[in-house]
């Protein structure tokens, strides 16, 4: 049976082989890295896709890579070593910065890039993403000892987000 580390290894392989330019784990699994584990059924991964001539980004090359590797894709998720992974192209300057500033942590022997908790809070507070569940997650993260409140305030100010 595969392990969670196997899934993370594949993320690193995707970067090494140029399928994605950069990645960072986000969402509930990122919260688990920084704070307490919460239920989730998928692994959200923010990505920078390689530059293409077209102005419109497409995940098609990524899905083609997955198919060639034997990873099934369904409902915008690719099941990598037993874990449904949703690849989310960075959608805003805040998401760009979240990927750029991600921390490299280790899971077992595998390095993994994870969105920092301050950015997770800010991403949850983006307009259009403020569902009750996301606000609740932002509030829970704000109580975490791993979080730097001044950094959150800075992000909210710079990206004009409402607390």
């Amino acid at each position: 049976m595969a392990s969670f580390a196997d899934t993370l290894r594949v993320l690193n392989d995707m970067k090494a082989s140029g399928v994605v330019e950069e990645y960072a784990v986000a969402g509930a699994m990122a919260i688990a890295f920084w704070s307490e584990p919460i239920p989730t059924f998928d692994l959200d991964v923010l990505v920078f896709l390689p530059a293409v001539s077209s102005q419109i980004l497409s995940l098609a090359p990524l899905y083609e890579w997955a198919k060639a590797k034997g990873y099934a894709s369904k409902s915008e998720h690719v099941t990598i070593e037993g874990v449904p992974v949703q690849f989310l192209p960075a959608h805003s300057p805040l998401a760009d910065e979240a990927v750029e500033q991600a921390a490299t942590l280790r899971y077992e022997d595998v390095p993994v890039r994870v969105v920092r908790p301050e950015y997770l809070v800010a991403l949850y507070l983006e307009p259009g993403a403020r569902t009750a569940k996301r606000r609740e997650r932002a509030a829970a993260l704000m109580e975490s000892r791993t979080l730097d409140r001044r950094k959150v305030e800075d992000l909210l100010r710079r990206f004009r987000l409402e607390p």
Partner: protein, 70 residues
């Protein structure tokens, strides 16, 4: 008009504060678990929550416990 409910004894503010502090303490303990243990807990949570979700709504294709080891 709803009948006035019977006055009930209430917990003291100190007790409520202690209960909240206990919750925070548990949260802090879970925060400091090693990552493998956290992933094990996520897998456990998936198995616990699935029957509840299934009763509430139709599950999407990817809402299944991960068939992995931590």
């Amino acid at each position: 008009m709803a009948p006035a409910s019977k006055p009930r004894p209430r917990a003291s503010p100190e007790l409520i504060a202690a209960l909240r502090a206990g919750k925070s303490e548990l949260r802090r303990e879970r925060e400091t678990l090693d990552l493998r243990e956290k992933v094990r807990l996520v897998l456990e949570l998936q198995r616990c929550i699935l029957p509840l979700l299934r009763r509430r709504r139709r599950l999407t294709a990817w809402e299944r416990p991960w068939q992995i080891t931590p």
